[in-house]
């Protein structure tokens, strides 16, 4: 549980298009790392390489190394499916499986791993739902479909589904962008709690959110239109938001971007 991630000279391509140029950064265990930057700068793309979701798009490929506790997840003998089983992901829009009950949504990942005992699955479902601060709201309707929940509850259900398998790393791709402020606050509180057990990487467009929830912040940007995105700088969050090293970061954070 809670492993560290190291990216070494990661270049990302969509076919011939060079999307992200040579990113190197380290994500320590039990911490929250926020990726910020303007739209199209490649921060979501980098996130999706961390659990090998990037390559499900035809033509997409990755150069460089991404090490999970020292082991390259792009190694020649590594099955992307097994990578995704240990690195969980939460998406921009809540995406519970519509035909599954709340309980079955939560344990879907465990079932994929071949765990079948009803008692065990029930326990895991309760633990994960408690972990996602959703248990009290849904404990009386676990057999109902997940699609009947509110947007914020659905997103917490998706977080419960991701943490049910106790992943080494939890990736979040703008998890609050489709939610109202109250649900957003609930998710942010949850992220702060989850940090005790998980390594978290979150992409966000909301700089206040990055400032509130993260320990370190990485700022991505394009050099120019048509150029690949790149990592401008990564540093402790308080420093990034008060006294960044790069002028570009300062401009972006203070709204003088462009």
């Amino acid at each position: 549980m809670a492993k560290r991630l190291d990216l070494k000279d990661v270049d990302i391509y969509y076919g011939k298009f060079h999307a992200v140029d040579s990113v190197s950064l380290a994500v320590p265990p039990r911490s929250v790392t926020a990726f910020i930057g303007p739209s199209g700068c490649g921060k979501s793309t980098v996130l999706r390489t961390l659990n090998r979701m990037h390559e499900v798009i035809p033509g997409a490929r990755v150069d460089g190394e991404i090490l999970l506790d020292g082991e390259n997840i792009y190694g020649p003998s590594v099955d992307p499916v097994s990578v995704r089983r240990t690195i969980g992901m939460v998406f921009q829009r809540p995406n519970p499986f519509p035909t599954m009950s709340i309980r079955d949504n939560v344990v879907a990942g465990l079932k994929l791993q071949g765990r079948k005992g009803k008692k065990e699955l029930d326990e895991v479902a309760e633990r994960a739902l408690r972990g996602a601060n959703l248990w009290n709201e849904v404990k009386d309707r676990l057999a109902k479909p997940g699609g009947g929940l509110s947007g914020g509850q659905q997103q917490r259900l998706c977080i419960a589904r991701a943490i049910a398998v106790q992943p080494d790393v939890l990736l979040m791709d703008e998890p609050c962008s489709a939610l109202d402020p109250i649900s957003t606050l609930a998710i942010e509180d949850l992220i702060s709690e989850l940090k005790a057990d998980y390594t978290i990487v979150i992409v966000t467009h909301n700089m206040q959110q990055a400032a509130r929830v993260s320990d370190q912040t990485a700022f991505f940007n394009l050099r120019a239109t048509g150029e690949p995105g790149r990592l401008v700088e990564i540093d402790d969050t308080p420093k990034m938001f008060s006294n960044p090293t790069e002028q570009a970061t300062e401009d972006y954070i203070s709204g003088r971007f462009g």
Binding site: V81, R84, F97, T99, L112
Partner: protein, 350 residues
């Protein structure tokens, strides 16, 4: 949106029917906004809207009237010969309607042959259609999927007379050894027992395979459309949990598309039940009774009617065949109803 009074252009429209109290600063100054009453005509309706509603309603009503008229036509034509029938219409196996003074017709064999050949075709075509649709939407690279899809669609454009000729002259001799092998080894089972015709290959077996090929494009095309609409978000959710390709299909694509696949199959079955010319060519006419074997000859409703209709010279004989047609009509209706029931039971698609 909700169907409030359309197009009044006031800002209050934004809330649709959900706000019942008038919004003070948003209402029309002279009169308060009338409460929403769904489709009631009390409120002002744009002329274009009215015309369109009339056209749409009219089209809907026309279809209902058309089906009713067809049913009524069949019924009116069928009743007089049924009253003069000397055999039991539902349980007799002989269909002799040539002599208007001695009508002797029953539909049991026609019904059994029709149902058996259609179900046999469906059993063959359903899994293959599912496989093709999943291959095209989930496995094949886009470069291959598109031309391959066109190819399958092209099958639907082949005239059924071609299928009939191909079935009798090309397919039947090719599958004959397999048919004999089935008879030799599984002949104890009624489906594979030796048949009642001597002409090799002019059997329900051959006809069913040809029918399967004919309904394959229907099942494939509709299933493919449905599977391709599986939301990307669901597929990514499954992938991110560490699902393999097959598990993604099982967790997201299949639950999403199952109802569509079933209705596609039922449409295929409907086509099979009514197919005429291919079966007329392939199936050997026989006076023998249908034994239930796939190696029997015989006739379906449609092929029997097509074979005999040209020689009819009086209303009573014609009516006897129309009565058979009525049963086919009801049968396809029941198949459709069953399909709807299956779809409703398997839950609404999200």
């Amino acid at each position: 949106m909700t169907d409030g009074p359309a197009g009044t252009g006031e800002p209050g429209d934004r809330w649709g029917g959900s706000v019942s109290a008038p919004v003070p600063e948003a209402g029309i100054p002279t009169e308060p906004r009338p409460p929403d009453e769904g489709t009631s005509g009390a409120t002002f309706v744009q002329r274009g809207d009215r015309i369109f509603r009339f056209l749409a309603t009219g089209s809907g009503a026309f279809v209902v009237a058309l089906i009713g008229a067809i049913g009524l036509f069949l019924l009116i034509q069928a009743v007089p010969p049924l009253l003069q029938n000397n055999a039991d219409f539902l349980t007799s196996r002989q269909f002799e309607a040539g002599d208007p003074n001695n009508l002797h017709f029953g539909i049991l064999d026609l019904l059994l042959v029709t149902v058996e050949v259609s179900l046999f075709a469906l059993v063959l075509a359903m899994p293959i259609g599912l496989g093709i649709a999943l291959f095209l939407t989930q496995y094949a690279p886009a470069r291959v999927a598109r031309p391959f899809g066109y190819l399958v669609d092209l099958l639907a454009a082949v005239p059924s007379i071609i299928f009939g000729l191909w079935g009798l002259f090309v397919l039947a001799p090719v599958i004959q050894p397999f048919a004999l092998w089935l008879q030799d080894n599984l002949g104890w089972f009624f489906l594979f027992s030796p048949g009642n015709v001597q002409i090799a290959g002019a059997t329900v077996f051959t006809a069913g395979i040809v029918l399967a090929v004919m309904i394959l494009p229907i099942i494939t095309a509709i299933s493919r459309e449905v599977f391709a609409r599986t939301p990307r978000a669901h597929i990514e959710a499954a992938l991110a949990l560490g699902a393999t390709k097959w598990e993604v299909v099982r967790m997201t694509v299949w639950p999403f598309g199952r109802a569509g696949y079933v209705s596609a199959s039922m449409l295929g079955l409907g086509r099979a039940l009514g197919e005429t010319i291919a079966l007329m060519i392939i199936l050997a006419a026989t006076p023998a009774i249908f034994t239930g074997s796939l190696f029997d000859g015989g006739a379906t409703f449609a092929s029997k009617i097509a074979l005999s209709f040209a020689e009819l010279n009086n209303n009573l004989s014609a009516g006897a065949f129309i009565a058979a047609g009525l049963v086919l009509f009801v049968l396809t209706f029941l198949v459709n109803a069953a399909a709807r029931w299956v779809i409703a039971r398997s839950g609404a698609k999200a």
